[in-house]
């Protein structure tokens, strides 16, 4: 009978906290949002399930949590290796920033840069949207976060989950869970956050602008682009070598036409495996004790503001460009400068078609969209170099 009572003491029912219960509910909410609303299901389901797993109270002395990492300890003058928990080894790819570059490899292998190559001026919209990153950085400083923490929080405005995780793992590992959850939550909420801002900042006439179909891009241009773009960007911001190196390497696999098998693996099986591991372990890292803190609320508020600012920055810059262009661009596509690929481009298409059902903006929006991915990786490289 004593054994039974001892066992009962170790059950989750005895040691669950109010915070754990809240986090489990949040995990369930993520799964529900993914299933019912189809909001980023590939991310929200693993993160949601991970949050549930990570908030089951663990038995004292047992190595179960993502934070139970392996270590070497000194016992009786001898260094002994203490293995970590299984989850900690999966989380290793997050904490050391290994998964994000692998995801970038897959993104590179699935991205067609043709629209960007055919209309290069749209790249600047991807740069303009990065204002969200740097204004959020200032906002975080105002809320008394340190420089490094502010940099990690600011990158949420890049609307790029892997980049946010990568930079947070380098600059503020203790905030990684909150930053990752904020980044992915807002990416999932792109269809909710962006349309009101886009409508607010544009007139009906502007939303009705039709753009010329993009020109055909030669194979040679597509092959040269990843190598040249990598050289240009990383010579300027070497901090972005890992992310951009993998992104452009993935794209070269696709465009070289001789490594189709590798490109296919990178954009299907590999990115899926890494997404599962990343999503689940990020979710499991959101233990109530480390996640439910006032600063997490600050991070969420700043994240929402950064998405709004980034969207506005892209749209306003498109309007600014129109002052000088003879062939006007539809300012809605500026909103796709936040790099949530391809969701923000889809939102542009949706908002554009609400005004004119025959206006197809998706392909045009993909240009600032993929430029935003490059822009946010450069911003991350700059922040890492300056703040580390």
């Amino acid at each position: 009978m004593d054994v039974l009572f001892e066992f009962l003491k170790t059950t989750g029912f005895m040691s669950i906290t109010f915070g754990n219960a809240i986090m489990i509910l949040i995990g369930m909410a993520f799964i529900t949002l993914a299933i019912r609303k189809d909001y980023e299901p590939l991310l929200l389901v693993p993160i949601g399930m991970g949050a549930i797993v990570g908030n089951i109270p663990v038995i004292e002395g047992m190595s179960l949590s993502v934070y139970d990492a392996h270590e070497w300890i000194l016992v009786g003058g001898e260094v002994t290796y203490v293995p970590g928990s299984v989850l900690s080894y999966i989380y290793f790819g997050v904490s050391q920033g290994i998964y994000p570059p692998l995801i970038f490899l897959g993104i590179g292998a699935m991205t067609d840069f043709s629209t960007m190559l055919s209309n290069p001026k749209l790249i600047l919209l991807g740069a303009a949207a990065q204002i969200g990153v740097f204004l959020t950085f200032l906002g975080a400083l105002l809320l008394n976060f340190t420089y490094a923490e502010s940099g990690a929080i600011g990158i949420i405005g890049g609307a790029d989950g892997p980049t946010a995780i990568f930079l947070a793992s380098k600059l503020a590992p203790h905030l990684l869970g909150a930053i990752a959850i904020a980044a992915y939550s807002y990416m999932a909420l792109v269809p909710v956050i962006q349309p009101p801002i886009m409508r607010l900042l544009t007139t009906r006439e502007e939303r009705l602008i039709r753009m010329k179909p993009p020109r055909k891009v030669s194979k040679r241009e597509k092959m040269i682009f990843p190598v040249a773009a990598f050289l240009i960007t990383t010579m300027i911001a070497p901090g972005a070598i890992v992310l951009l190196g993998m992104l452009f390497f993935g794209n070269l696999l696709k465009e070289s036409l001789v490594t189709e098998r590798l490109a296919n693996t990178a954009r299907t099986a590999m990115i899926d495996i890494v997404t599962i591991l990343l999503g689940f372990s990020v979710g499991a890292s959101t233990q109530a004790q480390t996640f439910l803190r006032p600063q997490s609320l600050g991070i969420f508020a700043l994240g929402a503001a950064s998405f709004a600012v980034a969207t506005a920055g892209g749209v306003l810059f498109a309007k600014f460009m129109n002052l000088f262009l003879t062939e006007k661009i539809n300012p809605l596509i500026g909103a796709a400068g936040v790099s949530a690929v391809p969701d923000s481009a889809r939102v542009v298409q949706m908002v554009g078609q609400q005004e004119d059902p025959h206006n197809f903006l998706l392909m045009h929006a993909m240009a600032p969209n993929v430029a935003g991915v490059i822009g946010s990786a450069i911003a991350a490289g700059v922040l890492w170099a300056v703040l580390v």
Partner: protein, 102 residues
């Protein structure tokens, strides 16, 4: 009061550095993407010049030589043959069934 003004002073210095980081960061992102833009604007012209000496073949060597292409083609051919055989077999069965029994 002195502590408060000291804190404000420290915060002002932090913000000053923050603003310079933000402005520099934004500028670097713009310069990097502007350079890519300029390169991409120039690229078709460069390639036109290059094409005079090194014409781009319609089909890449990859589409000729890589074995996986043949694998994909083979799969398509096998699928096509399978469909034809299946249709033929169906036709034969139907014609046998519809033939009046003697």
């Amino acid at each position: 009061m002195a502590v408060l003004s000291g804190l404000i002073h420290v915060s002002a210095i932090a913000m000053q550095r923050g603003v310079s980081i933000a402005l520099s960061g934004m500028l670097i992102v713009f310069i990097a993407l502007l350079l890519i833009t300029l390169f991409l604007v120039a690229l078709p012209r460069l390639l036109n010049v290059l094409a005079k000496y090194l014409p781009e073949s319609e089909e890449s060597h990859g589409s000729h030589s890589h074995p996986e292409r043949h694998v994909l083609d083979d799969e398509a051919v096998i699928a096509g043959l399978g469909f034809i055989l299946h249709t033929e077999l169906q036709n034969q069965i139907q014609s046998r069934q519809s033939r009046p029994k003697s």
